[in-house]
Assembly symmetry: C2
Homo-oligomer: 313 residues x 2
């Protein structure tokens, strides 16, 4: 095995780039802007230029590079094609082939950003030591990644691990961003929790710490929950019930060793984990009742880690 | 690759044993009784005796055998251990190790029966030509098998593909066999459909072909449905809605190329497939909207086929 690998996590605003030792140590990381003009045609050349520059600066010759892993905010099919990536302006692009050509044949592999984050957490984060992991990313939306036997389940349409769009409430009347109604994301994301809070406060009023805050947010709700606020507890219980039940259903499909919970909302920490775990246990199929729950530990670097792990397999 | 393989599908009453050419052709098949006395201690020796007899009769020396695949009605963990198999009386048994010892080192692999049936349908049945398959077996219960990149997702507790125990109705009051309430199996199995029919007939009466039948069953319901009976159509629509929605959620996890529907209930054929597909399309995440639906085609032999495929990988 060679000594180094690059992890490149492309976002709609910036690309996070990390130089890793293949044993798992992050040597240094940088950010460069993502140029989405003209259907993102400069994104890969910009990355290639930057990588060459860093290889020179750091005296890392191509021969010492195991490869370059790329994460991107869209589906990556099993054949490596990105059918469409709205945030970057890409359509029908074979990312690994294109970047490989620019990098004089250094191997490149690409994956969906949520999926590579899951792989990163499995490798060096909250799922370390396991090979069967379901990661749940609670951010503005709800993302996910399914790792089976150490490998990403990307799915035949790149929709593997799109657990934010599991229907959890067929009676929902408000539409999800995906156009359907009742998706997990509508209740378990930061925006979803804020909405649950708004609905709860509108329904019935009792004195609550939430009255005193300027703007409602998932963070405000969890902060009040930790202070013992009753209204916040109701909101958190509802969130935890919906998410815990959804995870118990996912366990009947993928049966992971561990669920790793990440994303901005997961900064609420152990109290969040405990609440979700409680409802998971109530509804889990008996064989899966002992599945572990862990917090993600790599934060925004998880994607870069997973990108590197991609090229090591 | 060697020329032959044995597929051994162990059931609670009989073991189905098939001699296959490794290219996929079933040469001959037999059944022997399953002796479940004394915690099933005779099952594997009986199978070994039978296999030796057939190897001699058919002049198949051990050197020409790629191996022996075994399916069994219980969970098989990723480490090969069967923690418990109620129907056979087994507990904490390493099936492949035990049988290998009896078979002078001919390689043995074991898997859960629903999972190997899914693998069999992927190899030579309704999922042929695909490597990412979700099989749904609609029998007395609802079983399933998830195949990702040609391999069974057995899960960390052997509960991979236990899709019959996805909770589809949190408001259910009657218990499932698993002790929980509202499992898919309670609505989409043969017994589940019969129950939906009974409930429908008890609720409101209009003239129906179902009045004329002696005993209600899933078959009777689908037969009346094909005759254009309105009451039967309501029952089938309810079944199809529940199953179609559940499969759309599974697609957000595993995103298969094809759903293969098997089991006794699937003998209703294309009309069943069409009804489930209709509801699947209504609720599917957009990326997965074009996922194919196919009927299983190997019937009760699927398990034997999958057992052989197990040893070829």
């Amino acid at each position: 095995m060679k000594k180094y690998g690059f992890g490149v996590d492309i976002g709609g605003t910036t690309c996070k780039i990390g130089l890793f030792e293949t044993a798992g140590h992050l040597v240094e990381k940088w950010e460069i802007p993502t140029d989405t003009q003209e259907n993102g045609k400069n994104i890969l050349p910009d990355i290639a230029d930057f990588l060459y520059k860093k290889m020179e600066e750091r005296r890392v010759p191509g021969e010492e590079l195991e490869g370059i892993g790329v994460g991107l905010p869209g589906p990556v099919r099993m054949d490596g094609i990105v059918p469409v990536c709205v945030n970057l302006g890409w359509k029908d692009l074979n990312v690994s082939k294109e970047l490989e050509a620019m990098m004089k044949g250094i191997p490149v592999k690409a994956g969906n950003d949520a999926n590579v984050a899951a792989l990163g957490e499995m490798w060096q984060g909250g799922g370390r030591g396991h090979k069967n992991v379901v990661m749940v990313t609670l951010g503005t939306g709800v993302g996910g990644g399914i790792i089976v036997d150490g490998k990403i389940v990307s799915g035949s349409n790149g929709a593997g691990g799109e657990i934010g769009h599991i229907t959890v409430n067929p009676h929902e009347e408000i539409s999800c961003n995906c156009g359907r109604k009742g998706c997990l994301e509508q209740y378990a994301s930061a925006t979803g929790i804020t909405r649950l809070a708004r609905e709860r406060l509108a329904r019935e009023h009792k004195k609550s710490l939430l009255d005193e805050t300027g703007e409602l947010s998932a963070k405000v709700v969890f902060d009040a929950y930790k202070e013992g606020d009753g209204t916040a507890a109701e909101i958190v219980e509802k969130f935890a019930c919906i998410l815990g039940n959804a995870l118990s259903n996912i366990a009947c499909v993928a049966d992971p060793e561990v669920f790793v919970i990440g994303g901005g909302v997961s900064k609420a920490g152990e109290p969040l984990l405990d609440a979700v775990h409680k409802y998971y246990c109530r509804s889990a199929f008996s064989s899966c009742a002992d599945t572990r729950f862990a917090l993600a530990s790599l934060g925004n670097d998880a994607g870069m880690y997973g990108c590197v792990k991609l090229i090591l397999d």
